[in-house]
């Protein structure tokens, strides 16, 4: 017993290393699993507060750009509004109850922390469960398209797993041909302006600079902008194309995002969970 103690004491550097390193690995693996602990990330009170203060300064630097994008969006909304106002309602014989058809509602939030340089990038926003944000909600940016999904939520803050993440997989389609594929980021690419579309069959003719939008399968509403094709078809040796696209969103200057609340999400999930799993 005494010899064992002497042995352990002599090589304590190694044994301590094993203990602490294992603890680190366990934390990593747990963080990769679906249920993560919420304490040690930027939804944390202290960390979130620090980033919020830092962001006050950053916000002023980009004020001009934000103004421009808001004006642009205003113009678009005004156009849509006048188009709606000019519909001659007297001609409509059937009265539609439109209140029930608002499936998606948008919640604006400010980005308080962002990164584009890592393998798995996470954005933190200044809205949380108190504002009705839940884990898994889709997030887009003003006029430019997909940003990601809500990951962890605390009372007044939430983290978004951005598109620039190894776990991100979004169902998209080519706008003109309606051919569907899935959007991924990574795979020998860490440029935040580029992403790849996989699972599009080899026999499809893909045109350069075609627009990519969300398909509507999955949590995003259909038709939200994603990017444009910059390289059609990188040969991977199987029956599917890998298409390179330029993202419309500039993730490095993200200031405001919209979290989308899907009224039917709960209903859809409940309905689909009753189906037998066939995978």
């Amino acid at each position: 017993m005494r010899n064992l103690w002497i042995f352990i004491n002599r090589y304590n550097a190694f044994f301590l290393f094993v203990i602490f390193f294992t603890a680190g690995i366990i934390l990593t693996v747990k963080n990769n699993a679906y249920q993560r602990s919420v304490t040690f990330n930027s939804t944390n009170q202290v960390v979130g507060h620090a980033y919020e203060n830092l962001n006050i300064f950053k916000k002023y630097m980009n004020l001009g750009q934000v103004n421009d994008s808001l004006a642009l969006e205003n113009a678009k909304l005004n156009t849509a509004l006048t188009a709606l106002k000019n519909i001659d309602s007297a001609k409509n014989t059937v009265v539609k109850d439109t209140a029930n058809h608002v499936q998606y509602t948008y919640l604006a939030a400010r980005v308080i922390k962002n990164s584009v340089t890592l393998r798995n990038n996470v954005i933190t926003i200044n809205k949380g469960s108190a504002d009705g944000i839940e884990s898994g909600m889709p997030v887009i940016s003003a006029g430019k398209g997909v940003v990601g999904h809500v990951r962890d939520v605390s009372a007044h803050l939430a983290t978004i797993e951005s598109l620039l993440n190894k776990d991100a997989k979004i169902s998209v389609s080519i706008k003109s041909t309606k051919e569907m594929g899935s959007l991924v980021w990574g795979d020998r690419n860490s440029d935040y302006r580029k992403a790849f579309i996989k699972d599009i069959s080899n026999h499809f003719r893909v045109k350069l600079r075609d627009t990519i939008v969300t398909s509507g399968f999955g949590s995003f509403p259909p038709g939200i902008l994603v990017g444009s094709i910059s390289n059609r078809g990188i040969s991977t040796g199987d029956n599917f194309l890998t298409i390179e696209i330029n993202l419309f969103n500039d993730f490095s200057t993200l200031q405001y995002v919209y979290v989308i609340k899907d009224k039917l999400a709960q209903e859809q999930k409940a309905l689909e969970s009753t189906l037998p799993n066939e995978q």
Partner: protein, 171 residues
């Protein structure tokens, strides 16, 4: 260990982590090389620190970084690996009975010793960091490329900081 060394190290911890989180987190070359200069704090801890304390400090530092990077566990494991390499390297190259210098800085130990020490520690740290961050082997070669380029970048910044602040004691 006197109180002056402790205060110096606490100050160094705050300054290096603040620089890492506020400034270097947003910095990268072509999205391939990212510097992690905060490891200088772990490199410069005094010789006389017991192993257990070293590991606890590394664990805590890693956890703090992880909270800000939203990568729970990745920096923690990398920092623990760095401390392991540090203990091995120091036990091999410096004899235990004459710790006449308080800490392994560039000014105390000379350029060649420090450069080799920083090189080994940086590579160990970055290897764990990037492999755990990618968390799959299918893009191994690309991850290793990012790791190597980042390690070179980090090493450059480490030596730069050391040369600026410790040159007056250079032998």
């Amino acid at each position: 260990m006197n109180s002056r060394i402790i205060i110096t190290n606490i100050l160094r911890w705050f300054i290096l982590l603040a620089i890492q989180i506020l400034l270097l987190r947003n910095l990268s070359f072509y999205n391939l090389a990212t510097p992690f200069t905060y490891i200088l704090f772990l490199l410069l801890l005094p010789f006389s620190t017991p192993n257990l304390i070293l590991y606890i400090i590394a664990f805590g530092t890693g956890l703090t970084l992880d909270a800000f990077y939203d990568t729970l566990g990745v920096h923690t494991a990398a920092c623990v690996m760095l401390v392991f390499v540090r203990i091995l390297f120091i036990s091999v190259t410096v004899s235990r009975d004459n710790f006449d210098e308080p800490e392994p800085s560039l000014g105390n130990m000379g350029f060649r010793w420090f450069a080799l020490y920083a090189l080994l520690c940086t590579f160990a740290h970055h290897l764990v960091l990037f492999l755990l961050e990618a968390f799959k082997l299918s893009e191994l070669s690309y991850t290793l490329l990012r790791c190597t380029l980042s390690a070179i970048f980090t090493l450059f910044t480490l030596l730069l900081v050391e040369l600026i602040f410790y040159s007056r004691k250079l032998r």
